[in-house]
Amino acid sequence: MARILDLAPHSAIYAGRLLAEAGHDVVRVEPPGGDAIRRLPPYLGGQPNIELGAYHQFFNAGKRSFTLDAASSEGLAVFRRLAVTADAIIGPLPPALTPDTLHAEQPHLVIAVLINDDIEEICRYARSGMMALTGQPGRVPMLMGGHVLYAATGLWVGVAMASALLTQQLRGVGQILTVDVQQCIEVFNEQAMSTYATTGRRADRRGHRGAITPVSGAFQASDGWWMLSVPNTAERWYRFLEWVQDPVLAANPSYAQEDGREAAKDVILDRIEKWSMSLKMREAVETAQSQGITSTPVQTPLDLVNDPQLTHRGFLQDVAIPNVGTVAAPAGAIASLLGRPASRAPLLGEHTTALLAELGYDGPERLALFERAVV
């Protein structure tokens, strides 16, 4: 288990959470006024509260909180003492300290540095080429909701950190890890870039219709939306026709061929849309799955709270959150994978005293640091 100091901005904060899920000691070093992410709405309980921002509660779960004014010279001294006890740091480092300086002083340390991060989330997404692929066809391109981009870039930082921690463990080697945050998103656009480079074709955004499998998409039923992907084989197409019983779809012989379906996909999808309006969503999904047709409900975050599969797998676990009560919290994919429990986020400065004591600051010294607003 490693100790990791987490000073990450929004674009890397998920990395610390992943490392905490995996059982490492992740110390979130926050300014005395609290992490900026604590002020990102929505809030658990619906009112602004520095402890209850949903993004803080999720991305900082499992971490400890150490408040420090690292920009001051006294604060920097405290940070240096803390860094001596750490195995890794997710930057940016406090202003007066450079990665090279710190690495020279403590060569065992893994230090993560972010570059190309000084761009707004929506601008990053537009620049990457991915935004052109998100949204309804012919209508305005869309930013992914829920700040999913932060999780995506944080995921890359997590993988990078894990690879550096492994190297540190195996070979006793510390190093500086440089993550290009813009590249983290552009990498996901590889398919469209590859298609353009090899064929000159530009990919389109398809919205609620499938981009890859021709007969696929989201459809409105009488009581909600559901998703359908008919595997692109003759056998599955016939089974699908038997279920749909649509004379127009059955009558066209070209649809029996893959390229026939590809060429006519929007016509086929229009017919399915009409048929779907009279169905009940959950029944339709169960019927499709029983026929080997990939199908799922289209869900909202609230729907997931009652999801039977997540509940069975223990992905949702009761966690006591101060000022809220007991909440069914998502344990996280890594905690779920490794069989580790769900956690809550720390209160602001919850662990400052304990960590200062560990670093050897006695009672009067700690008091002085508090009174001077260093911690």
Binding site: I122, L177, D204, R206, Q220, P301, L310, F315, G332
Partner: protein, 406 residues
């Protein structure tokens, strides 16, 4: 420098997963993306393929086989006939000397081939065995099949993205697969660290749905606490106004703008010839601009709609206002950004070089693995059998004659 210290030096700077053997039974996107990350970190990834069944994308009669760089680069390829008893036996032997095994077949497939974790563990207790399925191998939905777009819908992404009242909005690429592959890579790296300390392997039953749901964790947690969903914001922000995506001249050409400060707001009003807006007290603060966002959007739209998006972007940048044109893939390919993270790579069956992405990070000590063109199907069959299992040429020929290596 002596040989001994030279080899220690090589070890010290070797890529993170140097010396790690990965036996790769994955197919389609999520699994191969995970094993590609492992290959990029220096692992020896041996991809198990077969000619006894085409995978849809690879083999076309009469044409050179297409091997796309996204799935196949930096990996070795062995062909094994897993329906043949001796092919299965070889697969099991390879697993007995592997560090990691990754598969993403449907429930029960690996068990029927005697290649499930319980079958392989006795001969390799330190094996890290990763199953990447849509929903996991336990629970009421363990037998559900899944694909990228379905999981985008299942995870909440499609109803969190878009504006209130919009149909579900997907990302039109294999987004969900990448998220699953990345979480799997993280999990594998973590367990490799644990194994270093305690020597034991582990079975990892990864649910790709849980991976994508985790990226929406904040809103799931909020839903659980509040009993309702947060509003769908479209392109708007809870901290910047105006923020949005505005049509520019031409078809399907757009620009995004994100005004973070009052100073940027004043600059924007000047830029778009709306100084009366800049003086209007209704818009002086962020909350005011949020309230009257529709009116402000109309004004911005009427300015941008007749301008080429490159012009809009240039003027915004010159005025210090955060803004970008919405790029299509061709623009990214032709921009400087592409050179940083993307590399052309010759791929069998493609006339033009394929463009491939590398890892978006570098390490100051551990060497970076260069991109290697995809192997052809079965290219490393002989090499792997000799290298991993010590089989002689005769033994390999024998297996070939028996039909175990197709």
């Amino acid at each position: 420098m002596s040989l001994a210290s030279a080899s220690r030096h090589r070890e010290r700077t070797a890529p993170p997963l140097d010396g790690v053997r990965v036996l790769d039974f994955t197919h389609i996107v999520a699994g191969p993306f995970c094993t590609r990350i492992l290959a990029d970190l220096g692992a020896e990834v041996l991809h198990v393929e077969t000619r006894s069944r085409t995978e849809g994308m690879g083999v076309h009669a009469g044409r050179q086989e297409r091997r796309d760089a996204r799935v196949h680069r930096n990996k070795k390829s062995i062909t094994l006939n897993l329906k043949h008893e001796r092919g299965q036996a070889i697969a099991a032997r390879l697993a007995s000397v592997a560090d990691v095994l990754v598969e993403n077949f449907s429930s029960g497939v690996m068990r029927r081939l005697h290649l499930d974790y319980e079958s392989l563990r006795p001969s390799n207790p330190s094996l890290i065995y990763v199953s990447m399925s849509g929903f996991g191998h336990t629970g009421p939905r363990r037998d559900w099949t899944s694909m990228n777009m379905n999981l985008q819908g299942y995870s909440g992404l499609m109803l969190v993205t878009g504006s209130e009242g919009d149909p579900p909005t997907s990302v039109s690429n294999s987004w969900n697969d990448f998220i699953g592959g990345l979480h799997a890579s993280f999990g594998i790296l973590q367990v490799l660290m644990e194994r270093q300390a305690n020597g034991s392997g582990m079975y990892l039953d990864l649910s790709q749905a849980e991976c994508s749901i985790s990226t929406l964790g904040p809103l799931v947690l909020c839903g659980a606490a509040n009993g309702e969903n947060a509003p769908r914001l479209g392109n708007r922000s809870t901290s910047a106004a105006p923020q949005g995506c505005y049509p520019c001249a031409g078809g399907d050409e757009w620009c995004v703008i994100s005004v973070q400060t009052n100073e940027q707001w004043t600059a924007l009003c000047q830029l778009i010839g709306a100084s009366e807006f800049g003086r209007d007290p209704r818009f002086a603060s962020f909350t005011g601009r949020l309230r009257y966002h529709d009116e402000i959007d109309q004004k911005i739209r009427s300015w941008a709609v007749d301008l080429p998006k490159q012009e809009v972007e240039a003027r915004l940048t010159a005025a210090g206002i955060p803004g970008e044109r919405v790029r299509h893939a061709d623009e990214v390919v032709e921009s400087d950004d592409a050179g940083l993270g993307f590399h052309p790579l010759r791929a069998p069956g493609f006339e033009k070089p394929d463009l491939t992405a590398l890892l978006p990070f570098t390490l100051s000590v551990s060497q970076r693995v260069p991109p290697i063109s995809p192997a052809t199907t079965g290219q490393h069959t002989h090499e792997a059998l000799s290298d991993w299992l010590g089989l002689t040429a005769d033994a390999i020929d024998d297996l070939e004659r028996a039909g175990a290596l197709v």
